[in-house]
């Protein structure tokens, strides 16, 4: 069985974002990382590969992006991915990314595709399922756990006010979220050394174009400062919430 991870490369999410004078996000100094949700998906795929009962033999990461992203793909190899494939185009929206990924998947063999629920930069929450739709792969979303047992793929998916376990046949694409793995795997020193010598497979992109375009960025208006209530009269916060903010009633 082969697992493919759709991997997005993002600016480190914990930084503060500023806009340049032209009104674009200033990200040139921000380090690039594996999208946190994709990193958890990769971690779970590697756990499955290490479990002989799962039958998972190969884990591949698939990415559409420029050559400047190779260092990030190398981290995925250092974590334990067997192959890194980069489709050589910088997609301008989720539709374009999904078009490129879907065209690749149509021509290659796999059993399970995992994609994180969203990228931590543009929060589009679109690429995984657009890819499933364009490649015509059965899909499942809101997945918080995946197990592979003797060729059977079992998903736990979150519902509104509950969760369920479902079984699906391969090939299937799953959009995964919190719970899929506890902590992202740290590459070992040996993994880092090995990854240095591993090639990154570079693929010529199919025809693609975006369907959406961000025309303006704007910082939210500054918030008025927090009104402080003295700790020895905490009851006063209830007055403010009831009479000023009007968000509670007794």
């Amino acid at each position: 069985m082969e697992i493919v991870i759709l991997l997005s490369v993002v600016p480190d999410t914990t930084v503060r974002v500023r806009l340049t004078e032209e009104g674009l996000p200033e990200l040139s100094q921000v380090p690039l990382v594996i999208n946190p949700w994709d990193e958890l998906a990769l971690t779970r795929a590697l756990e499955l590969k290490e479990d002989p009962a799962s039958g998972v033999e190969k884990v591949t990461v698939l990415h559409a992006g420029p050559a400047t992203h190779d260092a990030v793909l190398r981290k995925a190899l250092a974590m334990g991915a067997g192959e890194a494939v980069r489709i050589d185009r910088d997609p301008q929206d989720a539709w374009e990314a999904a078009t490129l990924l879907a065209e690749y998947l149509k021509e290659h063999a796999y059993d399970l595709v995992l994609a994180g629920v969203e990228s931590s930069d543009y929060n589009g929450a679109a690429t995984g399922l657009l890819t499933a739709g364009l490649a015509d792969i059965p899909s499942v979303a809101a997945v918080s756990y995946v197990e592979v047992k003797e060729g059977e793929i079992l998903f736990t998916r979150d519902l509104e006010g509950g969760r369920e376990q479902v079984r699906m046949d391969a090939p299937v694409l799953a959009v995964v979220q919190k719970g899929i793995a506890r902590e992202p795997r740290m590459p070992s020193m040996r993994g880092i050394m090995m990854a240095r010598r591993m090639p990154i497979t570079v693929v010529t992109p199919a025809q693609s174009k975006p369907l959406t375009r961000t025309v303006r960025f704007e910082m939210p208006p500054p918030k008025p400062p927090c009104k402080m209530v003295p700790a020895d009269e905490p009851e006063k916060i209830l007055d403010l919430l009831e009479q000023e903010a009007k968000v509670i009633r007794f």
Partner: protein
């Protein structure tokens, strides 16, 4: 041209976000001078089926069949595609719910339509169609243009208030004879019954590490009970097992946007704030005056949550008793 609203059916009821989405869709349809068609699947009582009309639907289409009980992507996407083609739908609206987040991009792929998720209000412009959303986990607004004839969007949680905008309309049955067989095989189902759903709650009382242990969350439950709210927590709290994971609010947990988010013993890590920054009002109690939560909060107390909570609970009880006299 017409506008299709996919309304989630949650156990025989329209959840709050579905009602909000219908009112939002009606307002958009008025701007576009077109009709709102609500599509709903599964069983709903006759009484419940009167609601979409009141919240603004011109037409209500019902696909009621046991096979819709499990969200099978192929089946649902084919149903949506069929309705889009039969009714000449150009604008497709979904909730930012587990079902909406799955079906909106799948429908967009089938229809070759541009898709924008979690939009925060009515379009800024209809030609070209431009909607606003938050990116970088709530730190920046982006205005995004969709260039295709068909448009697909999901509405951000609590971005719109439900309004009574019309009269009940007679539901119409949808035929689903030609739809594909489901491929999603449900093995088990577990429901979290008897609690206000976190994403539905107007008031959320939340605790972080400052609550010190699982036992102390009783205080938050009590305050939530008195104010008619739900309890949430931070990631460390759910990782420690003090609270169940479904109560985790934050970037990697649930994104919530209640009227009041009341944070106790929460420092306000950027990942946590990303999940709650859509709240109308944030109030916070924390020992550390420099905690980042106070930058996000509207009202604050610098103090120990465990000392403040019992006093607030007593005061709320007193005021409730006074009102009831």
């Amino acid at each position: 041209m017409s506008l299709l609203i996919f309304a989630d059916n949650h156990n025989g009821h329209f959840p709050k976000h579905a009602r909000e989405l219908i009112s939002y869709g009606r307002r958009m349809a008025e701007d576009l001078n077109t009709q709102t068609i609500v599509l709903v699947t599964g069983a709903l009582s006759d009484e419940e089926l009167l609601l979409p009309g009141k919240y603004g639907a011109h037409r209500v289409l019902v696909a009621d069949d046991p096979r819709f009980e499990v969200l099978d992507h192929k089946l649902y996407t084919a149903l949506i595609e069929q309705v889009v083609s039969e009714k000449g739908v150009t604008h497709l609206l979904f909730s930012y719910s587990p079902a909406g987040k799955a079906l909106a991009p799948l429908a967009a792929a089938r229809l070759q339509a541009g898709y924008v998720s979690a939009v925060t209000g009515l379009p800024e412009n209809y030609d070209p169609f431009t909607v606003r959303k938050m990116i970088f986990s709530g730190k920046v607004f982006a205005s995004v243009e969709i260039s295709t004839e068909k448009k697909v969007i999901t509405l951000a949680p609590n971005a719109w208030k439900e309004e009574i905008l019309g009269e009940a309309v007679e539901p119409e049955k949808v035929s689903f004879a030609g739809l594909p067989q489901p491929v999603t095989d449900r093995l088990s189902l577990e429901r979290h019954e008897g609690r206000i759903m976190l994403t539905d709650a107007d008031i959320v009382i939340s605790g972080g590490r400052g609550m010190q242990n699982a036992e102390n969350f009783r205080l938050l439950e009590e305050l939530a009970g008195l104010l008619g709210g739900a309890v949430a927590c931070t990631r460390p709290v759910s990782d420690e097992g003090w609270r169940p994971p479904e109560e985790h609010a934050g970037q990697t947990g649930k994104i919530i946007a209640p009227d009041l988010y009341f944070a106790f013993g929460i420092s306000g890590a950027i990942q946590h704030l990303a999940g709650v920054s859509g709240s109308k009002v944030i109030a916070a109690v924390n020992k550390d005056p420099d905690a980042p939560i106070f930058e996000a909060a509207d009202y604050g107390i610098v103090g120990d949550a465990l000392e403040v909570l019992p006093r607030l609970i007593e005061e709320v009880k007193k005021r409730k008793a006074a009102r009831n006299r």
